[in-house]
């Protein structure tokens, strides 16, 4: 019977092409607008580290200005000072731990015609790759002692390796970073989590870095962060060493704690560390630190902003307006065909049968509107990508879940739109249409 209703619906749609087009367009525009915004919101709130949400923690310590709390969601600075980061690295409680920040290098290659270019870099401890599940294509990471001593090794992203070495296994080869030779130890496979959970205080929708170098190289290259550096104290920060030992925060810090016991122990350790620092005159604020899971970190950093949420609701309201329009058009159409419904009733159709027939007709409009709506939202997302000029390519794209959601939304919208007209037509007394011939 469903097949019969669908064929009737398609015949009916073809019978009134202009009206049908209007209704499909109404649903499509509503769905298109809605899906553009919802897709952006959905992609923004993705958690690429969901599978490790229970074991990864971003570390924050409150070593901020004694007179004023840090201006963040939880009143703790987003990053650590270099001296605290290197101190915490000495702990053997976490299974893995990462101290890191953004940087940039100019890449050149000896005896090559390749033009020098600047690459986004991440200065990090070796655990980065294991902790964030970064897949390797060739080779692996540097030895852990490179976290503390200047070892000139480098891990390349797949794109960089493609660009510099034509995609071949370049482990063991040498590239020059700011004119200094570095040995390639590993190539990572395509890896581009979005939002970039591990680095939210820069652009959360930026691509992953192009090269990765060991954390032990700071002094040798006098590396400053290319990410955010925030400070509150201006005292005794003379020279590069002064910067390293100062109170500016610029190091992102993550730990992997696999068990509850481990976490408890680490919390004790952090408490002890802060107490000890207090004795030395640092950390003058009330004792406070935070370990945030990736999911909590995304919320704290407001990756999905309130305006985006409001926009989401607005777009749903717009869809509702489109649905109301479709209701009016459907009602007009169904009432015009009421005599046919009367004949069908006389020939044995129950009210329910008439109701379902018309509801299926509106669902067909919904499916067609949904398909067209997907096209419109792809256009919309393309527009957003253009406006953002490559900064959010990752999130301004639809996955299959969103395509399904779009069709679902369209069918839901058209069912809503069809409900009242179909009900009206099924409740009408058929005899008035049969008599007035």
């Amino acid at each position: 019977m469903i097949g019969y209703y669908i064929s009737l619906a398609m015949r009916s749609l073809r019978g009134t092409p202009i009206l049908s087009t209007l209704m499909i367009a109404a649903i499509a525009v509503g769905v298109g607008a809605c899906m553009t915004v919802l897709t952006l919101n959905y992609m923004m709130s993705q958690n690429a580290l969901a599978h490790k949400d229970d074991v990864l923690y971003a570390v924050q310590l409150d070593g901020w200005d004694p007179n004023e709390a840090a201006d963040t969601a939880n009143e703790l600075p987003w990053q650590l000072t270099y001296q605290d980061a290197t101190a915490l690295l000495r702990s053997d409680i976490p299974t893995r731990q990462v101290a890191m920040h953004r940087f940039g290098f100019t890449i050149t290659l000896d005896e090559s015609e390749m033009r020098p270019f600047t690459a986004d870099a991440r200065i990090t401890t070796a655990d980065f790759f294991g902790l964030f599940d970064v897949p390797f294509l060739f080779g692996g990471t540097w030895n852990a002692d490179a976290d503390f001593s200047p070892v000139q090794q480098v891990v390349l992203s797949k794109a960089t390796n493609d660009k510099v070495f034509g995609g071949e296994n370049s482990v063991g080869k040498t590239i020059n970073l700011n004119g200094e030779p570095f040995t390639v130890v590993g190539i990572i496979d395509h890896w581009n989590p979005s939002p970039k959970v591990y680095d939210l205080n820069n652009n959360p929708f930026a691509d992953s870095e192009e090269i990765y170098i060991p954390f032990g190289l700071h002094r040798k290259f006098e590396i400053y962060s290319w990410g955010n550096t925030n400070g509150w104290s201006h005292s005794n920060e003379e020279g590069y060493e002064g910067f390293l030992q100062g109170e500016s925060v610029w190091v992102q810090y993550w730990v992997e704690l696999d068990t509850a016991a481990q976490k408890e122990k680490y919390e004790e350790y952090l408490t002890g560390y802060i107490r000890q620092q207090k004795e030395q005159g640092r950390f003058q604020r009330p004792l406070k630190f935070a370990l945030s899971k990736p999911s909590e970190w995304l919320v704290l950093n407001e990756v999905l902003r309130d305006d985006n949420r409001v926009l989401g609701w607005l777009s749903l309201a717009f869809l509702l307006v489109c649905v109301v329009n479709a209701v009016a058009l459907l009602l007009a159409k169904f009432l015009r065909k009421a005599p046919e419904a009367g004949v069908r009733r006389a020939l044995g159709a129950s009210r329910n049968a008439i109701f379902i027939q018309h509801l299926i007709e509106s669902s067909c409009i919904g499916v067609l509107g949904g398909l067209l709506g997907i096209l419109l939202s792809l256009l919309g997302l393309g527009g957003v990508r253009q406006l953002a000029m490559g900064r959010i390519d990752q999130i301004a794209s639809m996955d299959w879940l969103m395509v399904l959601a779009a069709i679902g939304l369209a069918v839901l919208a058209s069912l809503l739109a069809g409900l009242y007209p179909a009900w009206r037509i099924s409740r009408t007394n058929p005899s008035i249409y049969l008599k007035t011939q």
């Binding site: 069908r344 009733r345 006389a346 129950s350 005899s431």
Partner: protein
């Protein structure tokens, strides 16, 4: 077959209440061909619609095949209508964007027959009304008489025991009207009970029995002849 006792039907609008039928009692037996006459607005169509379960009476009792149908829900009434009752209207009431085959298909779909059974029945009734060659035509491509024959074919496809015709020849010229009447008589001979509303006294006379409705009531309840009914009128 059909037994109505003290049926009442009133329509209420904002300002007035119309009593379309009052104390309407009538019995129609299996196999009968009954013609119904009466002035316009006297309640003939209302009677047919109640008989065909398209409308519910305001009061009174209606037994169809011995079953009290006043308490049935819409689903059961629709099923009974589909299985037992065929309708023919003055305006033919074919669905304009369905071809003849698909028009006749409609009641069979609601009956739940499979495709093969439906096809067999549709072809059979199309042949009975002499329109086999036109199966793919749209109603608008046929003359009025042909359209009414399709409507009869559609009413017959489900093999109903009871055929209700509301002025089936009202829109036809006399030649076509006679053809349709002959078709109905033929159907009746094969056992289908027919109640036909008509304005045409010649056609009314050809039925087994004529009843007259005046002002929502049967004016002659005896199993009388058309002649008797006329004397009263």
């Amino acid at each position: 077959m059909l037994k109505m006792h003290n049926i009442r039907k009133s329509y209420r609008t904002d300002t007035i209440e119309t009593h379309a039928l009052r104390d309407f009692s009538l019995q129609v037996n299996e196999g009968e061909f009954v013609s119904v006459t009466g002035p316009s607005g006297s309640g003939k169509t209302t009677f047919l619609n109640i008989a065909g379960l398209l409308e519910t009476p305001t009061g009174g009792q209606y037994l169809l095949d011995g079953e009290d149908v006043s308490s049935l829900n819409d689903r059961d009434r629709s099923r009974l209508r589909n299985e037992k009752i065929g309708f023919i209207f003055q305006g033919f009431n074919l669905i304009p964007d369905l071809n003849l085959f698909d028009n006749i298909d409609v009641p069979l779909r609601y009956r739940g027959f499979n495709a093969k059974e439906r096809k067999k029945r549709i072809e059979k009734v199309l042949e009975q009304v002499g329109l086999s060659a036109r199966a793919k035509h749209l109603p608008a491509q046929l003359s009025g008489g042909q359209q009414q024959r399709v409507a009869i074919a559609r009413a017959l496809a489900g093999e109903p025991r009871f055929l209700l015709a509301d002025e089936p020849t009202g829109n036809l010229d006399s030649l076509m009207a006679r053809q349709v009447m002959e078709l109905l008589e033929f159907i009746n001979e094969w056992g289908t009970t027919i109640v036909m509303v008509t304005h045409d006294p010649d056609l009314a006379r050809r039925a087994h029995r004529n009843i007259q409705i005046v002002d929502g009531q049967v004016s002659d309840l005896q199993h009388g002849t058309v002649g008797a009914a006329r004397e009263i009128a």
